[in-house]
């Protein structure tokens, strides 16, 4: 261990990449609004000019709340925030409460998967969107690569929401996140990122299911639920030993 110390003390150089550091993307990221998450992302935030994939174990566990602070910030730009093939109706009062400017929100409902991919590519390539959110149930490597190429040529926050069972599929995306709802918050596992190997999962207690809806009630509820669903929690923890070691940073 002692021999490692001098290396760690070396001043940082731009022409030497250390295996344990994150990549430095060309464009700084958009701050996600969650300090624990930003610290783990190259560019200190959601990547611009690259594809991000979010795999949620179930719809509605907080995937949109996770993006909400970044979207609220992007809405200040004079560009569209495109929602392509959302699973349900985006509900105006809730979005307004999240400070997302509804005048900037563009909702696109394509009829088929091919149209969804086409619309996503157009939106990303148009330079007219600050963020493109696309819900994809199924995608092949070729179309994902096209989206990634479009994303590389733009300054758009490009996010694909995909079902969790496809998380193991190889993709050209620069960032892959797996979301799991837990009783004490939303757990994020970084499956892929540029630079250092993915670290331990991040727990965002701010996105605990009730906290999202009722911040003031959250603590009491979490306690109550932890008591009521204790056996359930134990089951989840044993099924995923990696998650058991998780600690809010």
């Amino acid at each position: 261990m002692a021999s490692l110390l001098p290396f760690a003390d070396l001043p940082p150089r731009t022409d030497i990449w250390r295996g344990d550091s994150l990549a430095a993307p060309a464009l700084p990221g958009i701050a996600s609004g969650f300090a624990q998450l930003d610290a783990q992302l190259p560019g200190n935030g959601w990547p611009l000019g690259a594809l991000t994939e979010i795999y949620a174990e179930a719809e509605g566990i907080g995937e949109l709340s996770l993006l909400a602070p970044a979207l609220a910030r992007l809405a200040a730009q004079d560009k569209w925030i495109a929602c392509i093939a959302p699973p349900w109706l985006p509900y105006a009062p809730a979005l307004a409460a999240l400070d997302i400017d509804l005048a900037r929100l563009l909702i696109v409902r394509p009829q088929s998967r091919a149209e969804t991919l086409w619309a996503a590519r157009q939106a990303i390539a148009s330079q007219a969107c600050s963020a493109v959110l696309c819900w994809l149930t199924r995608a092949d490597m070729q179309s994902l690569r096209r989206l990634q190429l479009a994303a590389e040529a733009s300054h758009t926050l490009s996010v694909l929401f995909r079902p969790a069972h496809q998380a193991q599929q190889a993709t050209p995306a620069a960032l892959k996140l797996l979301l799991q709802a837990r009783l004490d918050g939303l757990a994020l596992r970084i499956l892929k990122r540029r630079g250092a190997a993915p670290a331990a999962p991040i727990l965002l207690p701010q996105l605990q299911c009730t906290a999202r809806a009722l911040p003031h009630l959250a603590e009491a509820m979490a306690m109550a639920m932890a008591m009521a669903g204790h056996h359930d929690l134990a089951g989840a923890a044993s099924a995923k030993p990696a998650a058991a070691a998780m600690h809010p940073c």
Binding site: E57, A58, E59, G60, I61, G62, E63, L64, S65, D78, K79, W80, A82, P86, P87, W88, L89, P90, Y91, A92, P93, A94, L95, A96, A97, L98, D101, L102, A103, R104, L105, L106, I107, V108, R109, P110, Q111, E115, W118, A119, Q122, A123, S126, Q127, A128, C129, A181, R182, L183, C209, T210, R212, A213, L214, L217, M221, M225, A228, G229
Partner: protein
């Protein structure tokens, strides 16, 4: 003063070859119009027209023009239809369309009006531009000619360009192969000397027309070029009833005035391309439409104006034409934008029959001043460009996916969840309405219809109830107790109990 002549060497052929991207099919145009005065006479080697027409009825229609593919098959002007078909069995023979040629010339003039406001038509196949005042703007005569040649290719027209101090000299030079530039009066005699006397025929119409007999006379006495003509005594020509020749020469050399009636482009734009063969191929139709849109863009640039909407008509043989209305979203004269939307509309169209012709019409032409260039080059964050990009994206998505597939949402002041929002048409520059702010939590996702919960579903109620009871006055009466509930996968749901029967539970939203 410097005149630029835009000559169409293959004008009879152009109406039917414009829509063809590649010259794979041999195409020939047949007409009864005497072709003696026609420019192919100068454009083609003389021996091809010397011999008597081989085959074909006398007085019947003769070949007046053919594309490169047909010429390569051994076809030459003057042939009858039967002989031409014998040489090239797959030849596409089209009747000559004199009116189409005239319309094409006007279209070219409208397009060219973007380079100078002073231009004149020189029927049947030439447009003359007085570009003296435009040279500095376009970076010199060479630059301007390159630009026009490039634009002409986008229109699908084969152009031969030449510049000279007098309109007639420019025309003669263009007629005998383009690309020549004569900038000074003094150079004219030397540069025109080598031209054949045949060009005199295109000098003017009416009283000043040089008669074919005069040219035949000159050729008969061994005068083959303009240079030799210049050495002839003027009184001798006059005695032989050929004053028109001296007058034409005087005008070409600038010794006599040569006023040209100015051409004023019409206000509306309407143009049409006939396809050589009926086609249902979207690519080919888009290609034809792009030709028309290039002409439209030039026309609009000449008028300092733009359009917001144009109509494409795809004509069929017997059925009524399919009409596509294309909205641009903003007033624009951007050719790329127009053709992009045309492509999406054509791709989405279900054709009832193969298309024989494509017509473009822009009825409402709106003023759109040009923009000043910036000192430091184009800046990316230009608000107007951004606004155009936004509307273009919306229009593009709507063109392909349908008008209903693209929308925006807005708050609406109502307590009933279904009525608390409304869909609106995407519109740039809209300011979001801040409706009533709901203090209680609202889900990010609303289900299109409340989903009934079965008795076996077990949900854990987390918070509530919130009673929403409203709408007895407009027929959509709700009386519900809303709760937050935890779903089986720990997603937070918005559920309600119907108060009327007190029993049934529904899921109405998801906190995403």
């Amino acid at each position: 003063m410097i005149w630029l002549a835009l000559h169409l060497p293959n004008l009879p052929l152009q109406p039917c070859t414009r829509a063809e991207g590649s010259a794979d099919t041999p195409i020939a145009v047949f007409g009864t119009t005497p072709s003696s005065g026609h420019p192919w006479r100068y454009a083609l080697p003389r021996q091809t027209q010397a011999g008597p027409p081989s085959g074909g009825r006398a007085g019947g229609s003769r070949l007046v023009a053919a594309n490169a593919r047909a010429l390569a098959a051994g076809i030459h002007p003057g042939l009858g239809l039967a002989s031409a078909l014998a040489l090239a069995p797959d030849l596409v023979a089209r009747p000559r369309d004199i009116r189409g040629e005239a319309a094409l010339l006007v279209e070219l003039a409208c397009w060219a009006a973007q380079f100078t406001p002073q231009l004149a038509l020189d029927a049947p196949d030439c447009v003359l531009l007085d570009v003296g005042a435009s040279l500095r703007l376009f970076g010199g005569i060479g630059e301007l000619m390159a630009r026009i040649a490039h634009g002409g290719a986008a229109l699908g027209l084969e152009l031969s360009l030449a510049a000279a101090p007098t309109p007639l000299a420019a025309r003669w030079l263009a007629l005998c192969g383009g690309g020549r530039i004569v900038e000074r009066h003094d150079d004219l005699p030397a540069r025109l000397a080598a031209l054949p006397v045949g060009v005199l025929e295109s000098a003017a119409g009416g009283r000043d027309a040089v008669r074919a007999e005069s040219i035949a006379l000159l050729e008969a006495i061994g005068i083959g070029t303009i240079g030799q003509c210049l050495h002839l005594p003027r009184d001798g020509l006059a005695r032989r009833d050929a004053q028109a020749v001296t007058r034409a020469l005087d005008r070409a050399f600038g010794r006599l005035p040569d006023p040209r009636p100015p051409f004023v482009p019409p206000q509306t734009f309407r143009s049409r391309i006939e396809l050589a063969l009926p086609s249902a191929n979207a690519e080919q139709l888009t290609f034809a439409a792009r030709r028309l849109l290039a002409a439209l863009a030039g026309h609009l640039a000449a008028h300092q104006s733009g359009i917001e909407h144009y109509r494409l008509q795809l004509e069929h043989d017997e059925l009524p034409a399919s009409v596509l209305g294309v909205h641009l979203g903003v007033v624009s004269r951007d050719e790329a934008r127009c053709s992009l939307l045309a492509r999406e509309h054509i791709a989405a169209l279900r054709l009832v029959a193969p298309v024989t012709a494509v017509a473009l019409e822009a009825a409402q032409i709106l003023p759109l001043p040009g923009e000043s260039g910036t000192l430091f080059g184009a800046q990316l964050g230009n608000p107007r460009e951004q606004a155009e990009a936004r509307t273009l994206l919306v229009e593009r998505l709507r063109a392909r996916l349908g008008n209903d597939a693209v929308g925006c949402i807005e708050m609406h002041g109502d307590h009933r969840p279904e009525r608390a929002w409304q869909a609106v048409v995407p519109q740039d520059g809209r300011v979001a309405r801040t409706g009533v702010h709901h203090p209680p939590p609202r889900p990010v996702w609303l289900l299109p219809e409340p989903q009934p919960l079965a008795r076996s579903d077990t949900l854990q109620l987390v918070a509530g109830p919130e009673r929403i009871e409203a709408g007895w006055w407009d027929g959509f009466d709700v009386a519900r107790d809303y709760h937050l509930a935890l779903g089986p996968q720990r997603q937070l749901l918005w559920v309600f109990r119907e108060l009327r029967d007190g029993e049934s539970w529904f899921v109405h939203g998801v906190f995403g």
